[in-house]
Amino acid sequence: MATNQALFQYCLRLGDTNLILGHRLSEMCSRGPMLEEDIALTNFALDHIGQAEALLQYAGKLEGKGRSEDDLSYLRNVEEFENFRLVEQPNTDFAYVIARQFLVDVYQCLLYQKMQKSTDETLAGMGSRFLKESTYHLRHTSGWMERLGLGTDESKRRIQQAINDLWQYTPEMLSARPYEKELTAKGIVPDAEEIALDWLVQVVRVLSRSGIHKPQDAAVPPSDSHSDHLVRMLAEMQYLQRTYPDARW
């Protein structure tokens, strides 16, 4: 695979992950458990959508077919989305929102830290830009992991349940795609295996501090295809562009 094609795929995966997570978080607008948390979650949504915009714009440029970040977001079908399966999982309750976010925050902090050193100038710039945002996110979510884990019996039960349910989606997030090998060899993208090792150490540190048990790895990994949750989300997200093609504000 040509380097540009591989990098296009890579940016699509990271861009889609941010887009879908940002959209999921935007669903929490006016539904936060308290005003400050509502503002925090929508701030997160904005950061992720901003990161998606930058990554998908770059992906479109690499692809060279003239697709903009909007074309990529609104005019692709579900099977063309490359986002981590973890981020499409629904906002079941506040514990799920925090657990999902925490697992992604640790990953993104490690990813962006390493991405700053990319030999690709655009990726390096994005890495240092995004890292600061993700650091703020992780500070917030790890605080919540602790408060929920060490809070009441009810909050402990719920955060443990959320971590148990979401854990099965983490191997997919942590494993490298076939096209990444040559990009890593050229110093363009971080080594997925290194991130996976650091990720586990950092996640376990926060879990144990919060009195939350690390779940067993799933005996049968979940299906590789997207869930119905994503189908429904895209139906809503893409509705306007699909119904009124090329509609503009």
Binding site: G22, E36, I39, A40, N43, L46, D47, H48, I49, G50, Q51, E53, A54, C109, Q113, E121, T122, A124, G125, M126, S128, R129, F130, L131, K132, E133, T135, Y136, L138, R139, H140, S142
Partner: protein, 165 residues
């Protein structure tokens, strides 16, 4: 009358420094440090900007305002490019602008102990009104992506803090 290309570029910088930040009108987009470069080749005006926060909705407004202002100046061939590298940081905010922020009631950014470590303790943010260091964070996230909410335990006033970035 300005005839040299660099003279024209200087005028463009001057004009850009009149465009206020839409969220914090006391400082301009030049003081904020988002305009990276201005270059005029006699025909096309090239302006390079860098986003503050990637998802900052004000960014689209900055670009629209730059376009309108340059159009008013008679530049028909305008090219605005966004770059991510090197990334914007609050260190790019002009020192005078830091004072303006404080006067406006927003605590200016304070260098953090470790920027990349989410578990590092947060620095003390002095109250922009009474100067007290006896303040507490109410919410890490505020009305805009760049600010946190604080309250002063001495003068009891709530205030916004421009996050170090």
């Amino acid at each position: 009358m300005v005839t040299t290309l660099s003279g024209i570029e200087e005028l463009v910088w001057e004009r850009l420094s009149l465009i206020p930040d839409p969220e914090i009108p006391v400082i301009s987009i030049v003081e904020l440090g988002i305009v990276r470069n201005v270059q005029y080749d006699g025909e096309t005006l090239n302006i390079v900007v860098t986003p503050t926060y990637t998802g900052c909705p004000a960014m689209h407004l900055f670009v629209a305002e730059i376009k309108a202002a340059m159009h008013d100046q008679g530049f028909d061939h305008l090219n605005i490019t966004t770059v991510y590298s090197p990334a914007w940081t609050t260190d790019l905010i002009a020192p005078e602008a830091m004072q303006k922020l404080k006067k406006y009631g927003i605590a200016p950014p304070v260098k953090e102990i470790s920027q990349d470590d989410p578990f590092a303790p947060l620095p003390v943010i002095p109250c922009p009104r009474c100067g007290s260091e006896h303040t507490s964070m109410v919410s890490q996230f505020g009305a805009t992506a760049c600010k946190s909410l604080y309250t002063c335990n001495d003068c009891k006033e709530p205030f916004e803090y421009f996050k170090h970035f």
